[in-house]
């Protein structure tokens, strides 16, 4: 009995040391999952209207941090109806077969003063490692989270066949997400 009490006490002491990242709820109305690409030498911005993200983040405990993001690819908007009509098609996202993209972190590390989230992106049936730069700023009870990184579209076969020509459609797609988080 005494040993058990001691054990429980030790566990209680140890818990804050192990710690666990804070869970946050994304505030969709104020948050944005966007990207920038390039067509015929001109940058264009796009964003997804429908996506969900489970965010666990504590700058002091990177080992337990985790992002898990699911994107409804058909909800893409780029400000051009021709392009918005083409992107869900078989040559690009192929949403009929792969309606969602999924990103889940595998670990966090520091690169100088930057925080890098390493993870796997699954898009169009292909899973590849993608690293994103994370800027976390506590704000009251919640926080804001700005995430950026670059994805090579052809790694995932986005724009296949003739559309693979990167002199017309840029190879790099810059991801930029701004998340407003509320403490759970």
């Amino acid at each position: 009995m005494k040993a058990l009490t001691l054990g429980a006490f030790a566990l209680a002491l140890a818990l804050p040391l192990v710690g666990h990242a804070a869970d946050y709820a994304v505030q969709p109305a104020q948050s944005k999952l966007g990207f920038t690409s390039n067509f015929q030498g001109t940058a264009f911005d796009g964003s997804f209207a429908k996506w969900t993200a489970a965010i666990s983040y504590d700058p002091a405990n990177p080992a337990t941090d985790k992002f898990d993001v699911t994107v409804d690819l058909a909800s893409v908007h780029t400000g051009d109806k021709d392009r918005d009509g083409a992107l869900p098609g078989a040559d690009f996202f192929n949403t009929a077969k792969f309606p969602q993209a999924h990103f889940v972190t595998t670990g966090f590390r520091k690169n100088g003063t930057q925080v890098i989230a390493d993870g796997n992106l699954t898009l169009r049936g292909v899973t590849k490692p993608v690293s994103l730069t994370v800027v976390f700023a506590p704000a009251g009870a919640g926080a804001t989270l700005d995430v950026s990184g670059t994805v090579k579209r052809l790694d995932f076969g986005v724009g296949s066949g003739d559309y693979a020509d990167t002199s017309v459609i840029g190879a790099d797609v810059k991801i930029n997400a701004h998340l407003v988080l509320a403490a759970k």
């Binding site: 015929q40 001109t42 021709d82």
Partner: protein, 202 residues
Amino acid sequence: MSLRSDEHRWGAAAKLFHWLTALLIITAGTIGLLMGDMQPSMNKISVFALHKSIGLTVLALFALRLLWRLIDRRPRDQPEPRWQQLAAHATHGVLYLLIAAIPLSGWLFNSLHGYPLQWFKLFNVPALADKNEAAGDVALAVHETLFWTLVAVLVLHVGAALKHHLLDRDNVLRRMLPFGRLRHVPPNSASPPTVRPEGESR
């Protein structure tokens, strides 16, 4: 062949502007007529890009041509009824207006629809206006109407040139042909001075 025009014939520069513009207009016009029916594809994107690049080239050539016209003389009018001379000048004036207005209206349409504009993938050309699709549709209608106006005016232009060449058998077309030799006009006609272009004595 002199770069400059003289009293009797167009110079090499004027001929180059004329025939290059003609070739580019025929090419851009043919592409323009066919490209709208293409299925969405990378090929369609490339064909549209080619149409736009050629159109920009026509516009740039037109600007250079105007500058050249400022310092170049033009050959004397052929002896023909005054109304024909006036009609020829009026037709040329309208052609110049259309050569400028058709690419410009296409550029405006492109801008109003928010499409990028590149010259043969080499550099980007700025938009003439902010995106406004309703106005863009008007610009497209103008672009197409001006094109068909051009076709009609070209029928007059080419028809008149052929009439001079085949019926009047004068130098109106010859003096613009890339390697054309001027015809000797019979001395008994109420004629311009006859010409012996270099090389004709062989």
